[in-house]
């Protein structure tokens, strides 16, 4: 029809309003996060200094990456139970290689390449063989976790001090890296491959009929998820200065918690990365606050559980309330 004609002038923009609408339904979460930030700052005024801000964001950083990694797989219609093992593997590879002949650069490349490759392989198995993600990633969690233990049977290895100080020192460099990663994600979402993740996750058959390479889109999501997971592991190793083969275990469930808090759905194609990030920040702030209040660590688990069930139940109750 008229596709070849020049565009009419004065077409209202699309990208900006679309981005703005992604915040809908998240304002409540933003408010809670802000409240926790304020409480945290009152309890611990040092938070407002550069050093305090660096610490806060460093505590948040690995869970932020893990939450994004989990959200990616969930948007693709799956779930990852191997995420924690991937974090451990990333930490182990970094601790073993960076102080060796490969050096910091070589170790970094190895960590990222391993994440990308293992993530892609997981995705390939889930997508091509049409197996349930929960089973495949459960098996992968043993395989990957076992491999991490084979490489480094007990905590050890080392991260060069300079690199450790750079990432986890008193400058908020981790926050800068997070900003860059979020920027890259926005760029990815502005490509046809990235945006198609929503269509492929929500209704794969319809997406296929619309001409989307559904399998490729979903495998790419798993690969990127793996990349983010091992990167989180590398950071954890830099924080502690050495590698621990089971340090990532808690990240599996915490990443799911962050994504769920952020409104990422279990059925695929619904949710936002900004939601998952806010969810991970809330979890990490909560741990901070409870620590400063002197509550025992066990109480954190109880509070975390209550908050998650409230976060998923409240929207449902609101929908029911509107119906009746």
């Amino acid at each position: 029809m008229t596709a070849a004609e020049p565009l009419p002038r004065g077409v209202p923009p699309l990208y900006g309003p679309v981005q703005a609408r992604r915040n809908r339904g998240l304002y409540g979460l933003y408010a809670v996060v802000l409240a926790f930030l304020v409480i945290d700052a009152v309890l611990f005024p040092g938070l407002l200094s550069r050093d305090g801000f660096a610490r806060l964001t460093q505590n948040w950083f690995p869970l932020a990456l893990a939450g994004m990694a989990q959200a990616l797989v969930m948007l693709a219609g799956g779930i990852s139970l191997s995420l924690g093992a991937m974090v451990s593997l990333g930490a182990v590879i970094a601790a073993v290689t960076m102080s060796g002949p490969a050096g910091v650069g070589g170790g970094l490349a190895l960590v990222l390449a391993a994440g990308l490759a293992i993530g892609a392989a997981t995705g390939l198995i889930v997508v091509r063989l049409r197996l349930p993600a929960i089973v495949v990633t459960l098996a992968a969690s043993f395989l990957i976790g076992g491999t991490a233990l084979l490489i480094l049977p007990r905590p050890g290895g080392a991260i060069p001090d300079g690199f450790s100080d750079l990432l986890a020192g008193d400058q908020p460099i981790a926050f800068g890296i997070l900003v860059v990663i979020v920027g890259l994600w926005k760029l990815y979402l502005a490509t046809p491959l990235g945006l198609s993740l929503y269509a492929a996750g929500e209704n794969p058959v319809a997406a296929h009929n619309a001409g989307i390479a559904v399998d490729r889109v979903r495998i790419a999501a798993y690969a990127l998820s793996g990349l983010l997971s091992t990167a989180a592991g590398l950071f954890v190793a830099a924080q502690t200065g050495s590698g621990d083969p089971v340090i990532g275990d808690s990240f599996t469930l915490n990443s799911i918690a962050a994504a769920v808090l952020g409104g990422v759905g279990f059925l695929g194609g619904s949710g936002t990365m900004r939601g998952a990030l806010a969810g991970s920040l809330l979890l990490s702030l909560m741990i901070n606050v409870m620590f400063f209040l002197g509550l025992p660590p066990v109480a954190q688990y109880v509070a975390q559980g209550l908050i998650i069930i409230a976060a998923v139940a409240l929207p449902q109750l609101r929908i029911r309330g509107r119906r009746s």
């Binding site: 565009l7 699309l14 209704n203």
Partner: protein, 513 residues
């Protein structure tokens, strides 16, 4: 009826299917079907439920391979199309089942799979401009950034149409595009199709609304049981003539002889009944009677059955069900009141496929036992053996139910209720996708049940079934009973005409059955 500047008959077809045959699990759905879509012509495809329309569309758009026959695109013959072949040939389909991503915006949905790019990124400016343009064509004035999930079904349908137009189709296939549209939206679509026709687009239009087809289309292909019964210009044929071309299957000896039920007070009667999309339903059925529920698929027939069964919320102004004066409200009470329901989708709703045939047959009995009472294996074996013999199910009853053919599965889904002697049997399209022999057996079983004094409500998408099995048939359209046809007036033409709202509605409408 065609536009002035194009003489469609003289122009070669953009796409033609020739002598297409396709079956599913041994049931032929299309048998030697040919159809040719020419530029500048709106071509109607008509047929009853299950005549093979959707299968034909899927073959034309690359979603299905034909078993035999060929497809000629721009003069080049080939055995089948892939979805990407179809896209390259300029074929766009507006599906009946919406295929939009609810979390993405209108604009993003329109461009999905065909995004304009700039440096590898989605060019949102170009997308906005072109999406606005196609939205203008279909009268969508919502902001393009609105998520599709926030739209009503009718507006989503318009987005679906805009999405098809975005690809600049040379061949546009619309599968019941107006079923969820308002009158105004239908008018916009009609104008649009007229303009596309003038631009030389070939349009295939599937609808159950005969007056729409009469007003809009140039040419018609009628399918009946997978065979083309007409391929002709629409000029010179009226709605009644079209209906006659769609119906009239020879039932042969498929159906048992009908017998009139003895006069008896009704076992179920409701007035002012509403459930799901249905409103103002009045129904009565007496022992020994088979009451048919007809109409096009999805006009509320299933909601009536589910509401009566207590599976979905329902209300009614007056109720008598087997002595009770209120609706069952929930399934366990419906069972106690002697109501049994056999769902249409036996694989998902009717049976536990991985469990044994015997377990499936015994499930309603388990539900009646008290909490932790022990099972009596020997009695169960006896009961299941008797049922299996009655059904003609041979072989080991400990096999999983999925080992049975579709027809035999349906028999199990029906038979599991028999030991409980239900007074009211609700059947949801019991012969959908079932082979002829099993159909015959199911019909015989149904007749025996009615003769034994059970009341049967039979929902069916198969018109001959309604004509040959029922004492009376109620036709639903858009959630209301629009016609009640007594046995003496029952004919396929009467049922189809009432379901499609054609003017040839028979005498005997109105009045509670």
């Amino acid at each position: 009826m065609t536009s002035d500047d194009v003489d469609p008959v003289a122009v070669a077809p953009l796409i033609a299917a020739q002598d297409i045959t396709r079956g599913f699990f041994g049931n032929p759905v299309l048998r030697g079907v040919s159809i040719a879509l020419r530029p500048g012509r709106i071509h109607a495809l008509l047929g009853e439920n299950g005549a093979g329309k959707s299968t034909l569309i899927n073959i034309l758009s690359g979603g299905l391979r034909p078993d035999s026959g060929r497809i000629v695109v721009n003069g080049a013959p080939r055995g089948h199309l892939t979805p990407s072949d179809a896209r390259k040939a300029g074929i766009a389909v507006v599906q009946q089942e919406l295929s939009l991503t609810t979390t993405l915006s209108i604009g993003e949905n329109i461009g999905l799979g065909a995004f304009p790019r700039r440096f590898g990124l989605i060019d949102y400016r170009t997308l906005a401009g072109r999406a606005r343009e196609v939205c203008g064509l279909v009268g969508l004035d919502e902001p393009l950034s609105l998520p599709v999930g926030a739209l009503s079904l009718g507006r989503r349908q318009m987005v679906e149409i805009a999405k098809a137009l975005f690809r600049n189709p040379r061949i546009l296939i619309l599968d019941e595009p107006t079923s969820s549209l308002s009158a105004r939206e239908t008018g916009i679509l009609t104008d649009l199709l007229g303009r596309l026709r003038a631009q030389g687009v070939a349009i295939l239009y599937i609808s159950h609304r005969l007056n729409e087809i009469m007003a809009l289309c140039d040419h018609v292909t009628v399918l009946k049981d997978g065979v083309v019964t007409a391929d002709r210009p629409l000029a010179g044929i009226d709605a009644a003539g079209l209906v006659r071309l769609m119906v009239g299957r020879d039932p042969g000896d498929l159906f048992p002889t009908w017998t009139a039920p003895p006069a008896a007070p009704p076992v179920l009667s409701v007035t002012g009944f509403a459930a799901g999309m249905t409103r103002d339903i009045a129904l009565t059925v007496q022992p020994g009677e088979v009451l048919g529920l007809g109409g096009l698929v999805g006009h509320g027939q299933e909601d009536v059955l589910l509401g009566l069964y207590g599976a979905i919320p329902a209300t009614a102004t007056a109720v008598r069900v087997n002595g009770a004066t209120s609706l069952p409200g929930r399934v366990t009470r419906a069972n106690r009141l002697g109501i049994a329901y056999v769902p249409a989708d036996r694989r998902r709703e009717g049976l536990h496929l991985i469990h044994s045939i015997a377990t499936n047959l015994m499930l309603p009995a388990f539900a009646r036992q008290h909490g932790l009472s022990l099972r009596r294996r020997r009695q169960e074996q006896g009961a299941t053996a008797v049922l299996a013999a009655r059904l003609g199910i041979k072989g080991d009853l400990m096999r999983p139910a999925q080992a049975l053919s579709g027809g035999n599965q349906q028999k199990v889904a029906l038979a599991k209720w028999l030991p409980h002697d239900p007074r009211i049997l609700l059947l949801n399209d019991p012969t959908r996708g079932v082979d002829v022999e099993t159909k015959r057996e199911i019909y015989r079983m149904l007749r025996q049940l009615a003769d034994a004094g059970q009341a049967v409500i039979l929902l069916s998408s198969d018109t001959p079934e309604l004509v040959n099995l029922c004492d009376r048939v109620a036709i639903l359209r858009e959630g209301r009973i629009v016609a009640r046809i007594e046995r003496r007036d029952l004919s396929e033409a009467a049922i189809v005409a009432a379901a499609m709202g054609a003017a040839t509605a028979p005498a005997g409408t109105g009045g509670a059955p």
